[in-house]
């Protein structure tokens, strides 16, 4: 009997897992002992971290995309046919086209989505760069902007935890290069009582903000935006005026997770060490989709994916799990348009960001290209 592996989601997590399994189970795939099927929502694969550069014209849009089939190993049966119902009890997944896929092993990697619509006025009044349409609009807004009050507003939960700091530093340098910095006042808002969730990063960011005259408002959880009055108000009852509002919108998980009753907010209850869904022994969860209290970031998904590849391979070949996920996360942090640093941590090792340098910025730019090797399971 062919062991059927079904991967729901064609983003970074699902793609790395599919390609990694193809490498490790090459013989089994060749003699049809194993099959791998992926259900995606689009035939394009996007390098999401590249969106950070779009508002500043520092990356070409075509560099963000590849055809998903060209990124996937040829052994993967890929369908652009989004899952509409995941039935774990009966080991079946139903799709938009009316297909039903059964499985022996399931990987749920449906990711997260922006919910600017969850906050009154945000869709109309704010700019964001977390999707291509938003990043294009923000680019146009920056082109037209000649100075004023800029608010960089961060909401929870959100993916890519350092992106809010990066966009703030990059905005300041953009205004400086444009010659309008003296006409700009930047205010950064954050949901908790410091500038970043990671305490060492917050300690590093505060003097950097102070030295660059970037203002901040902590304990700021957005209640509403008034596009006509150009104000943003928090649940903590603070109101800020703005001329340009850049937001990191709150996120939720995929609708299919909610529709399938798999988890509140679209986040699937996941065991932090095994990455198994709840009490199951054949359903893995990867990337933003998990409810693990850990950063929602591409690197998280990548390191989780590596663990799942090993464990799924081991389960199929040896009937046992291979290893545990140690909670590793690694993030580059752009500290301007030509400098950067990085931070890494896991479940037991706290983060400790080093001093920014141009070299690390170049590494980040190099990774923007090398990503396609990661997605293919080569790096």
């Amino acid at each position: 009997m062919t062991k059927q592996i079904l991967i729901v989601g064609g983003g970074l997590a699902g793609t790395i897992i599919a390609n990694g399994l193809c490498r490790q189970l090459r013989s089994e795939l060749r003699c049809s002992e194993v099959s791998i099927t992926m259900l995606g929502t689009t035939d394009k694969h996007m390098y999401q971290p590249g969106l950070l550069y779009v508002p500043f014209g520092r990356i070409r849009e075509h560099e963000l995309f590849r055809d998903q089939r060209s990124v996937l190993h040829s052994c993967v049966n890929f369908f652009v046919d989004p899952a509409t119902q995941i039935d774990i009890e009966n080991r079946r997944v139903h799709t938009q086209s009316g297909m039903t896929h059964s499985y022996d092993y399931l990987v749920i990697a449906t990711g997260s989505r922006l919910r600017h619509d969850a906050i009154p006025g945000m869709t109309e009044g704010a700019h964001w760069f977390y999707d291509l349409e938003g990043a294009r609009k923000m680019r146009d807004a920056l082109d037209a902007f000649e100075g004023g009050k800029v608010v960089v507003n961060v909401n929870a939960p959100h993916k890519c935890p350092v992106a809010p700091l990066e966009i703030t530093f990059m905005l300041r340098e953009h205004f400086k290069a444009k010659g309008i910095l003296d006409k700009c006042e930047i205010t950064y808002t954050y949901p908790i009582g410091r500038l970043h969730a990671l305490e060492p990063v917050a300690h590093w960011a505060k003097p950097a903000f102070d030295s660059q005259a970037i203002k901040y408002e902590t304990f700021f959880n957005t209640k509403s935006v008034d596009p006509a009055a150009r104000t943003i108000t928090s649940e903590e009852e603070v109101t800020l005026d703005y001329d340009l509002l850049v937001t990191i919108p709150p996120h939720s998980g995929a609708q299919v997770i909610m529709d399938s009753g798999l988890g509140d907010g679209g986040w699937v209850p996941t065991q932090k060490d095994t990455l198994l869904c709840g009490e199951t022994n054949n359903v893995f969860v990867c990337g933003d989709t998990t409810d693990i209290p850990i950063s929602k970031a591409g690197s998280t998904a990548h390191f989780e994916a590596d663990t799942i590849i090993d464990n799924l391979t081991s389960l199929i070949l040896e009937g046992r799990m291979a290893r545990k996920y140690d909670g590793k996360v690694f993030c580059f942090v752009e500290t301007g348009l030509d400098s950067g640093t990085y931070v890494w941590f896991n479940y037991t090792t706290p983060p400790n960001p080093g001093p920014p340098s141009q070299m690390i910025h170049w590494f980040k730019l190099a990774y923007n290209r090398l990503y396609w090797l990661s997605a293919r399971g080569l790096l």
Binding site: I192, G193, A197, E199, F219, N221, P293, V329, F345, P351
Partner: protein, 76 residues
């Protein structure tokens, strides 16, 4: 009786217990509770500080062997 959702944020460096609470409390109904488990001693102060600012209610703060349990009721 209010429903109570527990979030185990022990050992979480990022986004950390308070961010987990902020995300979780959006998903419960007004009147329901979120219990957050945190091994960060700062949570025993940070979380009540935020709860007071945003006008929710701290139901209980309990120090256990190696972590804190903080229960917050959503009030609005």
């Amino acid at each position: 009786m209010p429903e109570r959702k527990t979030v185990d944020a022990r050992g979480a460096f990022c986004p950390g217990p308070l961010m987990e609470l902020i995300a979780a409390i959006k998903l419960v109904e007004v009147g329901d509770e979120v219990e957050i488990l945190s091994s960060d001693k700062g949570s025993a102060k940070d979380i009540p500080d935020w709860v007071a600012k945003v006008k929710h209610e701290v139901v209980a703060v309990e120090e256990r062997d190696d972590h804190w349990s903080i229960v917050v009721k959503r009030m609005k």
